[in-house]
Amino acid sequence: MNNFELLFQGFTVAFALPNLIAALLGGILGIVVGAMPGIGAVTGVSLLLPMTFKLNPTTGIIMLAGIYYGNMYGGAYSATLMNIPGDSPAVMTALDGYELTKQGKPGKSLFAGNIASFIGGSIGIIFLTIFGPLLAEVGLKFGPAEVAALIFLALTSIGWLLGDDPVKGLIASGIGVLLSTIGIDGASGLPRFSFGNMNLISGISFIPLVIGMFGFSQVMEMMQPKSDAHIEPVKQLTLRESMLDRSEMKRIFMPSVRSALLGNFIGFLPGAGGTTGSFLAYVMEKKIGKNRDQMGKGAIEGVAASEAANNAAAVGAFVPLLSLGIPGSATTAVLLGGLMMWGLRPGPLLFASDPTFVWGLISSMYIGNIVCLIAGMAIIPFLMSFLKIPTKIMAPIIVIICIVGSYSVNNNMFDVWFMIFAGIGAFYLKKQAFPIPPVLLAFVLAPRFEISVRQALSISNGNAMVFLQKPISLGLLLFTTALLLAPLVMKLIAKLKKSYK
């Protein structure tokens, strides 16, 4: 069967009533959670993850995927209306979105954001349909050495890409790897670093770690004396005054398409994600866009560029996740954890071993994207009242969900203690500008990296040259080295240029 036949078959899975409801509910929940200032996609997905336990794997992941891209739609709401981005990719949306709000056109901005998100999401899903299986075929040629080199690339690039400071980013990745070594060693079956604690023998539970690092630390940030103060009252909006006319639709179409293509490509890269995508798309639009002079002063092209790239990157991150088992962002790392929890192993074999699941998920994204567009438009007036919930009400709700959600993973209070510990640790790390997503991505990737490295070395009788003898792994390692050296070389060139002048 070719991809389109499989996709068609996937639609029969996606159109099954429970899956349809899951996509709808996930999309709406995602938009609502994403619209809440400061919560964001990764916190939203991790807080809602325990609620999918009862569902079957396909339905559960369809719902989580719905929450994920619904979040990308929702992030623009608070950015546009209150100048508070719901998540980091929406930062660029706020630049023009809030200006439009100040000009009395918040509805136009939200509408443009929704249309652009739809275009970005659609392009992303089409690319996922085409390139996902192709990449999986390439992935089948990967042995332990190639897999190890690929994950090493991911581990080093996430550290660089997710923070301003490469040293801190790499320390965060290293900490994630060390945390992953707690528990049973996958290769020998012996327990390690359990500190004599029974609860640590099977390793650190993924969900309490995620809930703590993203949900609980978020509440700790909310408790800092700030926020709420600069939230301005939002006037009531109607759908009619939010509609874009024909010329406005024309203005946003091309910026959305080119930003989506750029964002989608960035989404393929491990760790790059929506934030980098929306930032680069915005910069591109500012350089080549027709209305570039108005960017930052309330141009709908700015909102469209940021939102299209953001959504395309979000879907693009599914390509390496499903075909290679490498998460492209922190949120897809949470989804990877969810897949593993249900006994699914993302990677090249997933397309062959579980086509019903993979194509059901991809098909549900087509439906989910339309659902999010309609829901995004329809709930504009409803969201106005939801966005007014102050942080002093949000904080206790999140803390309660953190406690109950962590407990429900293993029905064990140790997980709640660990969640609190992870939250405090993440809070102080964030305060010192250590990026948190690399910790999580490394924690998820490291067990596979360790097994691959040890398998490669065992096969070659301990000869480390095995990584350089295989062309794919050599190429990946050279690319990693170039990535690591690039900032130093750039600095050196800049210095030489300065001294020459």
Binding site: P50, L178, F216, A395, S408, V416, I424, F434, L457
Partner: protein, 162 residues
């Protein structure tokens, strides 16, 4: 704080290095042992933490020291108290979550969630008793319906038996 974090990372990675080498083994019978990856990454974290430490110390030395105005003690004292308040405020959720763990164990999840929601909104967010009560009821209902009724999570029953 940055210096402290760098020192913590160096200590933790030092422990991982020692255990990886001495207990789990870096190379066993010509093949990588259980300590292989922990040793490699602990060395990496140690080196990077040392770089972070040196940078933090240099930055601290380069920063101009804050002079205390002579004969004006009270504003400094109140500023110190404010600074401690600011530092401790983010830890309130942790304290409440710890109380929550014991409350769930001894009182059961329904009563514990109701108490946390009510007390937080009443005493930390300074809402009226009625509004705090009205806020806590839907939260308890949501937790009960999703986690107890739908997911059937076996929470401790507590003294009230629910």
């Amino acid at each position: 704080m940055e210096i402290l974090l760098a020192l913590v990372f160096m200590t933790v990675s030092g422990y991982w290095l020692q255990q990886g080498l001495a207990v789990y083994g870096f190379y066993v019978d010509g093949k990588p042992g259980s300590g292989f990856i922990p040793v490699l990454f602990s060395i990496l974290v140690m080196i990077l933490s040392a770089i972070a430490l040196v940078r933090a110390v240099r930055t601290k030395r380069a920063a101009p020291s804050k002079a205390t105005p002579a004969g004006d003690a009270s504003p400094t004292v109140s500023a110190d108290i404010d600074s401690w308040k600011t530092r401790l405020q983010p830890l309130i959720p942790a304290a409440i979550a710890i109380v929550g763990i014991y409350a769930i164990t001894y009182l059961g999840v329904v009563v514990a969630v109701a108490l946390i929601a009510f007390c937080w909104v009443r005493f930390l967010s300074h809402y009226s008793v009625v509004r705090s009560f009205l806020f806590s009821v839907p939260i308890v209902l949501f937790i009960y319906v999703v986690f107890v009724w739908w997911l059937r999570v076996p929470f401790p029953r507590g003294v009230f038996g629910f």
